[in-house]
């Protein structure tokens, strides 16, 4: 009975959505409403043709997420910060000197091959993540992706070298200061516009030549990318720590 009900409702859901997607504009059409838009008010042609000149980055997606729709990304970094705080509300923060870990007490011996390979690979992973962060303006990538890769490297390090080493390298009190850095960088860069007589999150100011304005915008975008990267890395590492070394008080 219950199975039939579930099956029927899923079928209904599928059918309704099918009607919707079949009636959507055909896929891959370069002349669709989305691409051309209403004359004079279409965002896409403007982004594609002017984005490099007025927003400051070759990668148009970076232009959109950090400049045109920067407020959304401001919300987005707040979401990851909220996620960390939510995890800390459910689980407590890990505590120093509380031995509660699986790998250090695990009966499986640590393999020399894994140990060595990780040791060799880690600097390269970090280098790659720095590349992803810093070249987010001219190629694919950006702060969040790079930050996640840094966090992944940190997680690998903790998994292979054990938690006590991880705690030594990334102590809680030190991590705590940097967890909110992503929204804070965003807000700091956004506020600058307010002082120079423009709106929040403006990167182009009056009284400068176009070239210097572009340089200014690029460097501000770069700072934001680094901030998001650092924030993302710290937040994911902290979530991992909180989930692994949960403190049973």
């Amino acid at each position: 009975m219950k199975r039939a009900l579930v099956f029927f409702s899923l079928l209904l859901c599928f059918g309704i959505m099918l009607i919707a997607v079949v009636n959507m504009p055909p896929m891959g059409d370069p002349k669709s409403m989305m691409m051309t838009g209403p004359p004079g008010r279409a965002p896409i042609p403007r982004y594609l043709s002017e984005g490099r000149q007025e927003a400051g980055a070759e990668n148009i997606i970076t232009d959109i997420i950090l400049n045109y729709r920067g407020y959304d990304t401001n919300g987005e970094v707040t979401v990851i910060f909220t996620a960390l705080m939510a995890v800390l509300a459910v689980l407590n923060r890990e505590r120093k000197n509380v031995s509660y870990c699986d790998i250090e007490t695990s009966p499986v011996k640590r393999s020399v091959v894994v140990y060595t390979i990780v040791r060799i690979m880690l600097p390269f992973i970090l280098l790659f993540s720095l590349y992803v962060i810093l070249f987010g303006e001219v190629g694919p990538g950006g702060g969040f992706q790079g930050g996640t890769i840094i966090a992944a490297a940190a997680i690998i390090f903790i998994l292979i070298f054990g938690y006590s080493q991880g705690m030594e390298r990334f102590p809680t009190t030190w991590r705590m200061n940097f967890e909110g850095i992503a929204p804070l960088t965003f807000i700091a860069m956004g506020i600058i516009g307010l002082f120079l007589g423009r709106n929040y999150l403006t990167f182009m100011f009056p009284g400068f030549s176009h070239a210097s304005n572009l340089l200014l915008a690029r460097s501000m975008l770069m700072i934001i990318e680094i901030g998001i990267g650092a924030g993302g890395a710290f937040i994911f590492t902290s979530i991992f720590f909180a989930m692994q070394r949960e403190d049973k008080s």
Partner: protein, 81 residues
């Protein structure tokens, strides 16, 4: 030509997602979910979205899978019936 490769990848996506849902072993399910994310990442690369593909590879296949595995190691591996 390239659109046909897309079709195969999309069918592969459906297949992996079905395996994930059917699998009784949670560890296997989360690992196959990682594979699903990687296929999704290739599909997006084919649709000219390299930024999103990179993000999905780092987040969906990387961090999400790690978090699932951590949870499974803290809880239980077998799905009860």
């Amino acid at each position: 030509m390239i659109w046909r490769l897309d079709t195969i990848l999309l069918l592969f996506l459906v297949a992996t997602s079905l395996i994930v849902v059917r699998s009784k072993d949670l560890l296997a399910a989360s690992l196959i979910f990682g594979a699903y994310s990687l296929i999704m990442c290739i599909v997006w690369q084919q649709l000219s979205a390299p930024d999103i593909a990179l993000t999905e590879a780092a987040v969906g296949a990387g961090v999400t899978t790690v978090l699932f595995i951590v949870t499974i190691s803290k809880t239980t591996r077998k799905e009860e019936e």
